[in-house]
Assembly symmetry: C2
Homo-oligomer: 343 residues x 2
């Protein structure tokens, strides 16, 4: 568990400058992957999205063959003042309890990281100091938001060859709904879902909270980073920072569910190509996630009715990516295997 | 590679008798799985289909916790006389070439079995003696079909705790289309697709071949086993036999693509509960597969645009199943982890 406070970004504007020039994919390694794919002993395209995944990995890692030797799962945890509005089915102390569960190896993400070979880092962000209730005031000061962005940025280990980023934070689907509405428009009701499982009354309170926030913060939400600061949360800002760092270090990213995708979407609103190094690992049962992915033009890899967060959906997608890499690197070519081509 | 010819089934009627009484799931192990699932540190249902998978595995393996220690991938290969009608983009000799590729470890299924920890057995069924062209005569004699059913039945290793069954056979999507039409009705055009990638002219020839077969064999196709004999193939019959054996030995099955599912569907037409121990691992890009799954009332786990066969889609689903088992068996309960429940 990391509690260090790196100081890369003194302000939101320093962060903003850091993502002014984003590196793109490497067309030559993508070409090498496409060339190899065409020679493998299968009809062209018969491995479907597995083929695209191998090419995507080569393009963004800027090497061929690509690797999955050190995939890194980062799970950021934060607490939210907005829980005072009765927006969650669980009490706020569950965030810290689940962080302890992550540490002890007992959560879903622990098992999935073991199953699919990812290293897990859990980073708790001042759990004893929740963000402000964003129905009353900005969730974070500029300095708090910049620190969270910095922590996420620094959490990306230098040797990682893939990033999956997830979150834990009671109340954070309310925050994500407000952020998504700020970034893409639409009413509170369109973006609010049941999260961990609130009842009808809880859903009405969530919708009312997002509605209040949209009214309170108004035009200030037009700037994506300001929206993150005002209605986001520390774990969301950390994800934004980690996904931005991954872009700079040529590390492809598998996005997780609604909250993680909303946090990453800040980068896409700052630069239309800001998430080109990311794929959507899955679509959550939280219906707003599908809506958000449509706004981002992303087609999720998996649709398993999951809605847990913790990077769990992204971890399962890593399992699929392992199959994509194994076939791309391990299969024989038509000439190696002496298999005839199309007639 | 197995070439033995076991003689379990002297006739189709002996096979028919062997599946008269099918064992069901164990409600007590299913209950044990449901009970454990409800205690794990996640909101109820938050792992979506992963939770269903763990319960399904426990129910059909008849033990809790369920295991994935010895998953077995069986790939059956056969040749088809109907290739004389110009129904495939590849020459018939590719079947044997791909079997050699499987043996040498160079095919997609080899890499996927390694990635997801399944043992692979490849069983070539008289490749030098293709079935008869079913536009002219029944594909197999009764004895040939019974032998193929027997080989499939015997191929299920006694210690397997999961079966994935796939196929390789140039021309066999034409066979599967004819079989699906025989089992579920509909025109040739509704069931024929591009398979490995035929052009428009090839697609017309495929459709014409299936059309001819439906006319030639007519009312005889009303019996599912007779349909399998007349328009199926050896590798399809072997899959039918293997999936039936799995039911008797309490081995859950992940179905692969269009061809493997059509072969298994014979069992569902013989007994409406005949595939209750199976899940659809994926839905293929071959559109008829989705149609077939709708007829079977099955919701595929994955939708990755694959259309390779070889059990490749089922192997990827095994990858997901590993995550389901890992979370089910490895996660802490709320009480173990000291995490608060719903408020």
């Amino acid at each position: 568990m990391t509690t260090a406070r790196p100081t890369e970004f003194r302000s939101l504007d320093v962060f903003r400058q850091s993502i002014q020039e984003l590196p793109g994919p490497d067309s030559s390694t993508a070409h090498a992957a496409r060339t190899r794919d065409a020679q493998l002993t299968k009809p062209p395209g018969a491995l479907g999205r597995l083929e695209e995944l191998a090419i995507w990995l080569a393009a963004w890692q800027r090497r061929h063959p690509p690797t999955l030797e050190r995939p890194l799962a980062l799970v950021f945890a934060g607490n939210h003042g907005v829980v005072a509005q009765g927006v969650s089915a669980y009490p706020g102390e569950v965030t810290a309890q689940m962080v302890a569960n992550f540490k002890a190896g007992g959560a879903a993400i622990n098992q999935l990281c073991t199953a699919y070979g990812a290293r897990l880092e859990v980073i708790a962000l001042e759990l004893d100091r929740p963000t402000a209730d964003f129905t009353q005031a900005p969730a974070m000061s500029e300095s708090e938001c910049a620190v969270a962005l910095s922590i996420g940025w620094s959490a990306l280990a230098p040797d990682a060859d893939l990033l999956i980023a997830g979150e834990m934070g009671i109340g954070n689907t309310t925050s994500a709904a407000a952020l998504a509405a700020a970034l893409f428009g639409g009413t509170a009701a369109e973006w609010v879902g049941r999260g961990t499982g609130v009842d009808d009354a809880g859903l009405r309170r969530k919708t009312a909270a997002v509605d209040s926030a949209l009214k309170l913060h108004g035009a200030a939400l037009a700037d994506p980073l300001e929206a993150l600061r005002r209605v986001g949360g520390r774990e969301l800002a950390a994800i934004t920072g980690a996904v931005a760092a991954a872009r700079h270090r040529h590390v492809p990213v598998i996005l997780d569910g609604f909250v993680a995708t909303a946090a990453a979407a800040v980068l896409q609103r700052l630069d239309r190509a800001g998430l080109d190094h990311c794929i959507a690992g899955h679509v959550s049962a939280e219906l707003s996630h599908a809506r958000l992915l449509r706004h981002l033009g992303m087609r999720p890899l998996l649709d398993l009715g999951m809605r847990l967060g913790e990077a769990s959906g992204a971890a399962l997608a890593l399992g699929i990516l392992r199959g994509a890499l194994a076939t791309h690197t391990g299969m024989a070519s038509f000439s190696e295997a002496g298999v005839s081509g199309k007639t």
